[in-house]
């Protein structure tokens, strides 16, 4: 996934990866990444029907495109519950 992300970023497109596998993602050095803490694989943005949580995760992901508070290659971790 990060391979794809890095390739897209390299062509002049800003990218943000939402990841629930922070260890593997960190090792691959993404340009930007958001890790919603405690979310399981298969629920990257929240649980089924959890519209407000899904919206907040996506809003945060997009906001990180505008301003990234970490070094590129590292992740931002946020809690949503």
């Amino acid at each position: 996934m990060v391979t794809i992300q890095r390739a897209i970023e390299t062509t002049g497109v800003s990218t943000i990866l939402v990841t629930v596998d922070p260890g593997q993602t960190r090792a691959a050095r993404p340009p930007r990444g958001l890790h919603p803490e405690g979310f399981p694989i298969g629920e990257s943005l929240g649980r089924p029907g959890e519209r407000e949580v899904q919206r907040r995760v996506l809003h945060d992901a997009l906001s990180l495109l505008v301003r990234y508070p970490e070094e590129p290659g590292s992740l931002v971790t946020r809690r949503y519950r």
């Binding site: 996934m1 890095r6 897209i8 390299t10 694989i41 996506l58 505008v66």
Partner: protein, 138 residues
């Protein structure tokens, strides 16, 4: 086009314009496809599907053999947030969605992904002249 880069180097493209003026694409490896498209081989598939951004949520399907997609079957937005992106576009938080989302499934053919699938995905998003991509995995 394939660009090789050391893991130590991190490509970084600042956002070109305010979010409210950006065209955004969703790119996902969660195995989501649209009803009527060929399902992904759940155990190994290096192909991509372009899911039209106006696809109805109840016409989204998941084919992926290496994560539990019971939640995504009930609500694809948990891995493929097309509804949420459409809402953010309607609210003006982003300018617009690209015409499609790029989707792939599970594979461990990493060399093929690097040499063939990734360039195809890059070509797809560049064809749409997007400013930004949101990426999700399964």
């Amino acid at each position: 086009m394939t660009i090789e880069m050391s893991r130590l180097c991190v490509p970084f493209t600042p956002l070109a314009r305010p979010l409210g003026a950006c065209r955004v694409a969703l790119v996902s490896t969660a195995g989501v496809y649209a009803a009527g498209q060929e399902p992904f081989d759940p155990d190994n598939d290096v192909s991509i599907r372009v899911v039209p951004s106006d696809t109805a949520t109840d016409a989204l399907r998941v084919s992926h053999g290496h994560y539990d997609h019971a939640s995504a079957d009930r609500d694809p937005n948990v891995v493929f947030p097309l509804d949420r992106l459409r809402e953010l576009a309607a609210a003006g938080e982003i300018g617009e969605l690209a015409p499609g989302a790029v989707s792939m499934g599970f594979t461990q053919s990493f060399r093929v992904v690097r040499d063939e699938t990734t360039p195809r995905i890059v070509d797809e998003v560049n064809r749409w002249s997007v400013d930004a991509c949101v990426l999700t995995a399964g």
